[in-house]
Symmetry: C2
Subunit: 359 residues, 2 copies
DNA sequence: CCGCGCGGTCAAATCGTTTCGATCCAGGTG
DNA sequence: CACCTGGATCGAAACGATTTGACCGCGCGG
């Protein structure tokens, strides 16, 4: 019980050895408060003789009442969540900003959709704030667990949560802009490849009833933005923002679904990964882009492997979003009342969209 | 000073309200030790009346002497490190296994190569063990910082470190196998696209002197494996395992570097991302794969966007590697002496390698 | 009838640090 | 020479929990 000689030296032992009080020794390390350089050196010398490696973070945290840890709830296992460059870039901005304040990021796997149990880390891990990067469902078990524990929450890209700052993107306006671009090029038969709807991941065309279930953000916002301009001739739902799902969807949409004469002349996808999959499917079907079909994405990712095509996409400031999330966390910890914001997005035309083919 | 009425209720207050001692109240929550169901309910009731949300992790951690946190040092900012699916998959396996023990993963950005300062988290954050996933340099400042703090370390994919278990892959054998495959197909003019060498990232052909500087793993191991079978006609060094770098390298190697008659007939890349870039470059140059040039990668990633090509690659059990790292961490915490291992790898032929073109 | 053992409860010691307020001392001022 | 000021140091009280060993009835076997 700590009586073993092998247990690490403590500040008290260092102080004793240096012939000063514990409080003074603490001062020598924390740097705050007045202390003679001479005394400090004495303490530091004693510390190094004893092999003391600096104040124990656990003691410090308890005393301070802060862990210096920010829990980041990722949508799923990292293996899936981080296959999406969008999540990665947001995380990057977040880590960067939090790093400037010495805050660390603790990775918390979100719920396995369909499971009711949440990760034990959510219930027990020490964290000063939690960030929900990937949106919030209605009746989100993750959010509930955090609120039960009174952990302050910052929400990225979801519906607003009582008392929690929200950092969003102007999804709806962006989606509308992308579709307007297609309409201006003359397209009328526009197909939509959508992100997951929420609970119950599936793939395939969505009917009106199913469309009404899309409660996850940003899916719902992007759907709304598209419909602000035009009604898609078909909406193909996917289980995740991955290239292979976009490819599967577009293979159906462009291939067997309808006779060639009624084939959609343009596809708008909810994400660049889905759009890239659509581009690949079109290539495989022998269609020229954008002569036969136009394809627009959403995210503004840099996808060198899609070469020579460059996606027409809606650029989002993703690292900036992560950074804003970080700022919100910091403000929250400083006791300030942080404000929600929506970051602007903008269409960046590439080579994958062009005038509607003359028939 | 905790004298404010707004401060959270503590176990002591709950105990007082329930009319029991603090120790009994603790028992009611921790579940260990004998306690009458009746008493437990009394405590739980008092807790919910007071809005007590369970034992404060900070207090618990201090008492236990454990934080339940595993620091994972990623090579760089997440934005760069996680663009590599290899790192992501390893992390995935790691998080999964640690999760079963209630251990959380704290993300720690590695050093900015060239900077001498390490991330403050490395110096101050609470962690029971640290994992270096992405290899260790000789004289690694990150490793030094951890050793100075007496934090136990588990190393993935690097050189062995005194007292730290190592979880590696049979890189050398795998690389040799890939090249042997090319040689058996008749290739003799084989070019190598390599991972970063270590400090000082650059891109371009590497001369003998430069080759000697490759001290980072797994680069060094893969280079050695390749040379166990054949000497590459050229080694092109890249600053990171990214598609665009592979593309740039292959554009040079296959294009302008030598007259077409002396052009390498095969390329072996140290990673699948680099190899994928090479495939794209070959396509852009109008070369057929594998008729004009064979390309082999390393990692065994699933790259749907490379369709219709499927990379010939050396499959690595990446999630398994992460899981083993996790096990090593758990063993270390249990006081057992964990052992180092090297996981087997195996060649998986795809469509990107074929017989040497007849000239 | 006595003592033993056992399940449930409690008191007290720790874990290692930070910080508030008090103390002490040297040096400058009236 | 006494007083005051301000900087350096110190003591002690938190911070919030876990855990050990003692304690205390009570039921049962001898």
């Amino acid at each position: 019980m700590g009586r073993t000689p092998s247990s690490r030296p403590t500040l008290a032992r260092v102080a004793e050895r240096a012939g000063v009080s514990v409080s003074t020794a603490s001062l020598a390390f924390s740097g705050s408060g007045p202390i003679t350089p001479e005394t400090r050196d004495k303490v530091l010398a004693a510390a190094s003789e004893l092999g003391y490696t600096g104040p124990n973070p656990l003691g410090r945290q308890l005393r301070r009442g802060r862990s210096g840890i920010v829990g980041v709830v990722i949508g799923d296992h990292p293996g899936r969540a981080f296959r999406d460059p969008v999540a990665v870039q947001v995380l990057d901005g977040l880590v960067d900003v939090l790093g400037t304040e010495g805050l660390g990021v603790l990775l918390i796997p979100g719920v396995d959709l369909g499971q009711d149990a949440v990760d034990p880390l959510l219930e027990t891990a020490a964290m000063d704030v939690a960030v929900l990067v990937w949106g919030v469902l209605s009746e989100d078990p993750t959010l509930n667990a955090l609120q039960r524990r009174n952990v302050p929450v910052v929400v990225g890209e979801g519906r607003a949560v009582e008392g929690a700052p929200l950092v969003a993107l102007e999804d709806r306006a962006g989606a509308a802009e992308a579709v307007r671009h297609l309409v201006e090029l003359g397209h009328t038969r526009i197909a939509e490849i959508s992100l997951p709807f929420g609970r119950g991941e599936r793939s395939g065309p969505a009917d009106a009833e199913r469309l009404a279930c899309a409660d996850r953000t940003p899916t719902a916002h992007r759907m709304a933005g598209i419909r602000d301009v035009v009604d898609p001739v078909i909406t193909w739902e996917t289980p995740a923002s991955l290239v292979e799902h976009g490819r599967d969807a577009a293979t159906e949409i462009l291939g067997t679904w309808v006779p060639a004469s009624e084939r959609p002349t343009a596809i708008v996808a909810h994400s660049d990964l889905l759009a890239a999959g659509a581009v690949i499917a079109a290539r495989e079907l022998g269609l020229s882009i954008p002569e036969d079909v136009s394809i627009a994405g959403f995210d503004g990712l840099d996808l060198p492997w899609l070469s020579p095509d460059v996606l027409t996409s809606v650029h989002q400031p993703l690292r900036e979003k992560g950074a804003r999330l970080g700022r919100a966390v910091i403000d929250l910890l400083a006791g300030e009342e942080p404000t929600s914001i929506a970051l602007p997005v903008g269409l960046v035309p590439g080579t994958t969209t062009g005038p509607v083919p003359r028939t």
